[in-house]
Amino acid sequence: MKFAIQVNEGPYQHQASDSAYQFTKAALEKGHECFRVFFYHDGVLNGTRLTTPPQDDRNIVNNWVELAEKYDLDLVVCVAAAQRRGIVDEGEAERNGKDATNIAPRFRISGLGQLIEAAIQCDKLVVFGD
């Protein structure tokens, strides 16, 4: 199965990010192909490298990064949603006159077309949200 994941909520506030991560991990471990994880709405907040969760709790951002490294996952943050919520890479910082970036490694910022493309290319779209 070739699948795409959509994540609509940020880490910690809702379980959606955790569920999406656990599902994606389980699917990859079963040998399925994950075409793309698309972060939309507050989901874009999964893509910041500035979090420091409590030591005795899971680190959701790092979980995504490690999964991406292991399986060469495509982690895409929606640009319009990211602009509203302050997720910035080098290019966005330059375009919008921001003096810092906060995007995590392995995440990339791109357009909504990436979600539509994923839905066209994949057998299944699985949405996690509030």
């Binding site: 939309y40 509203r84 077309g113 779209l125």
Partner: protein, 135 residues
């Protein structure tokens, strides 16, 4: 076999209280460029998205509701409204926006693609879709 997919966008949230309605609309506008068969379903509080006369001046938020009227120009062919949701809220189709549609090639026109459907029909339409987007 066509490689067009049947896309269904599920709208179940009221506007303004959360951003889902607006950001869902942004996806629909982008989907137009990919030449898929795009339908929208308005269920539960999602039916409130289509209510006419929205005026956000008092809350300082952008009024994105005029965009719904133009969806016919964005390759959206069907906007289904859940009958039960509408009735529970004391609304009728007269309270909702009118969305005209025209096929530029065939010159086929539809006065209003907003259509009230019952649960059985809606369940059918959801099942017939290839992809359901939830926000």
């Amino acid at each position: 076999m066509s490689d067009k997919k049947q896309f269904m966008f599920l709208n179940r949230r009221a506007p303004y209280g959360t951003i889902y309605a607006w950001e869902s609309l942004e996806v629909v506008l982008i989907a137009a460029a990919f030449e898929q068969a795009v339908s929208l379903a308005f269920i539960d509080d999602g039916v409130y998205q289509l209510v006419t006369g929205q005026d956000t001046t008092g809350i300082g938020m952008k009024n994105f509701s005029p965009t719904y009227k133009t969806l016919g120009d964005y390759e959206v062919r069907h906007m289904y409204v859940d009958k039960d949701s509408l009735e529970a809220r004391g609304l009728s189709v007269d309270d909702l926006v009118v969305v005209p549609w025209e096929d530029w090639e065939t010159e086929e026109t539809v006065d209003n693609i907003v259509e009230v459907v019952d649960s059985a029909k809606l369940a059918e339409l959801l099942e017939e879709s290839d992809v359901v987007f939830s926000f």
